[in-house]
Amino acid sequence: MLTRRIIPCLDVRDGRVVKGVQFRNHEDVGGILELARRYRERGADELVFYDITASPEGRQVDRSWVNRVAEVLDLPFCVAGGIRSVADAEEVLNLGADKISINSPALADPDLINRLSRRFGAQCVVIGIDSLAADADWQVYQYTGDPDRTQAARRRTLDWVREVQDRGAGEIVLNCMNSDGVRQGYDIEQLARVRECCDVPLIASGGAGTEQHFLDVFEQANVDGALAASVFHKGLIDILALKRWLAERGVAMRLLEDPADG
C-alpha cells in the first residue's frame, strides 16, 4: 500500500534555512545540509527546499547547494523558487533534484507547465498554489515571497487546480495562506474541496501545529502528503514519533527504526 508522506519544507535564503510567520519576519533556523540530514534520520519521506527570495527579486540564484543536498541525501527532494523556464528546471534536475515546483511563473506563463511536463515528464512537475479564502471561495495569490509584491492572481483556486492538471502537472502543493505559520491546523475544508477535483497527488501545506492536525488532514481531506516547516524546525513535533502515532491510528506510514532505540 502506498503510504502517506510527511514532508518537511525548508525555506532557503542565502544558503540558510529560515522560517517566517505568514511569509514575514524570517528567522534563521539552521544549515541546509544539517537539517536535511536530521530530517532524513528522523524518517522524513521527502524534502522540499524553497528558495523564498528567488522568484520575487527576479535574480539569478546560486543553486550549488542543490548538488550538495543530492550528494548526501538518499531521499527524494523537490526544489521550488526561481524556476521560470525549461532551462532553469533542467539545471535544477541535473544538479540532483527529483522534482521542481513552480508557482508564480506558472501563473504568468501557464504554457510553461506543458513545456516542463513534455520535457521531463509529469512526475517531475509540481505546481505550488498559494490560496487565500475570499468571499466564500478561494483565490490564487502570486509573488507571495515578498509582502510588497503579493497580489491576487485573479484566478479561482479550484479553476487553477483543474487547469494545471490539464496542462501536465504531476503533483499539487496547496498552501492555504490563512492558516500558514499560525499552527492552528490545516485548512481541511479547502483541501477537501480541492481533493475532489485533483486526480494527481495533493500535498497539504500551511497550519500544522499538533499531531492531531496531521491525522485530521489525512482522514478528512484525504491528501497524499502533509508538508510542514516550523513544527519540525523548532522541534515541536518529532517526525519519527509523529509517524508512529499516525500509524497507530490507521494512517499508512513508512516506519523506520529509531536510531535512539539502539
Partner: protein
C-alpha cells in the same frame, strides 16, 4: 568485481546526479554516456529513465543503442522508465520498446484515493528468490514515481500494489529492472543497488 566502469546509458533524461551520487556512496564511479564502445566496456550498465518512453527510445535509436543493449552480457539494470524500456512496448505514446522482456506498460487508472502518478513509498512484496533482494526485508518500502506500470509476470521478482499488483522488480538472465528509484529509497534502495553491483 568485473573490470570496467559502471555506465549510465544516456537515454535523454535529466536527473542523473542522484544516481551518480548513490553509486559514489557505494564506492563506484560511473560514466554517463551514449557511446557504444564505452557501454560495451562496462562492468555494469544502468539505464536510468525520467521522461517519456517514445523520446527515450528515439534517443537510443539515434545512437544505435536499441540494437546494442539486447546484446549486452554484463548485468543491466533499468530504473523506472529505464525498466519499462526493456519490455515490448508502452501505452505511453504507443511506444515500441526494446522487447527484451515480454509485456506492455499500461497507464494506472486514477480513482478516488489513488491519484496518478503514483508518487511515494510503497511496499515491495517478494515473489521469487533473487540476489537483488539479498538482505532486504519483506514489505520494505521503496520510492515510486510513475504513471505507467508493467503487469506481474514470471519475470517479476517483487511486486507492489497500487489498486492492482504491478511489477516492481524484474529479472531475466542479465537484465534487471526496478520500477522504483533505488537511489532515492534510503537504506533499502542502497542495499538493492549494492546487490546489483555485486552481481
Amino acid at each position: 568485481m568485473a573490470a570496467g566502469p559502471v555506465v549510465l546509458v544516456d537515454a535523454g533524461g535529466a536527473n542523473i546526479a542522484s544516481l551518480k551520487f548513490a553509486l559514489a556512496r557505494l564506492g563506484r564511479e560511473s560514466l554517463f554516456t551514449a557511446d557504444e564502445a564505452t557501454i560495451r566496456s562496462a562492468s555494469h550498465v544502468i539505464i536510468p529513465g525520467v521522461g517519456a518512453a517514445a523520446d527515450a527510445m528515439a534517443r537510443l535509436q539515434a545512437n544505435g543503442l536499441d540494437r546494442l543493449i539486447p546484446e549486452l552480457r554484463q548485468p543491466i539494470l533499468g530504473i523506472c522508465l529505464g525498466m519499462q524500456l526493456l519490455f515490448e512496448g508502452s501505452d505511453e505514446d504507443h511506444a515500441r520498446c526494446l522487447g527484451i522482456l515480454p509485456g506492455q506498460a499500461h497507464r494506472f487508472t486514477p480513482a478516488p484515493g489513488r491519484p496518478v502518478p503514483q508518487m511515494g513509498w510503497n511496499a515491495l512484496v517478494p515473489r521469487a528468490q533473487h540476489p537483488l533482494l539479498e538482505g532486504v526485508a519483506d514489505e520494505a518500502y521503496v520510492y515510486f514515481v510513475h504513471s505507467y506500470a508493467l503487469p506481474v509476470s514470471r519475470h517479476t521478482v517483487a511486486s507492489a500494489n497500487y489498486g492492482e499488483e504491478f511489477a516492481a522488480l524484474v529479472a531475466s538472465e542479465n537484465f534487471h529492472g526496478a520500477q522504483f528509484h533505488p537511489e532515492r529509497s534510503g537504506p533499502v534502495g542502497e542495499r538493492i543497488l549494492k546487490n546489483f553491483l555485486d552481481l
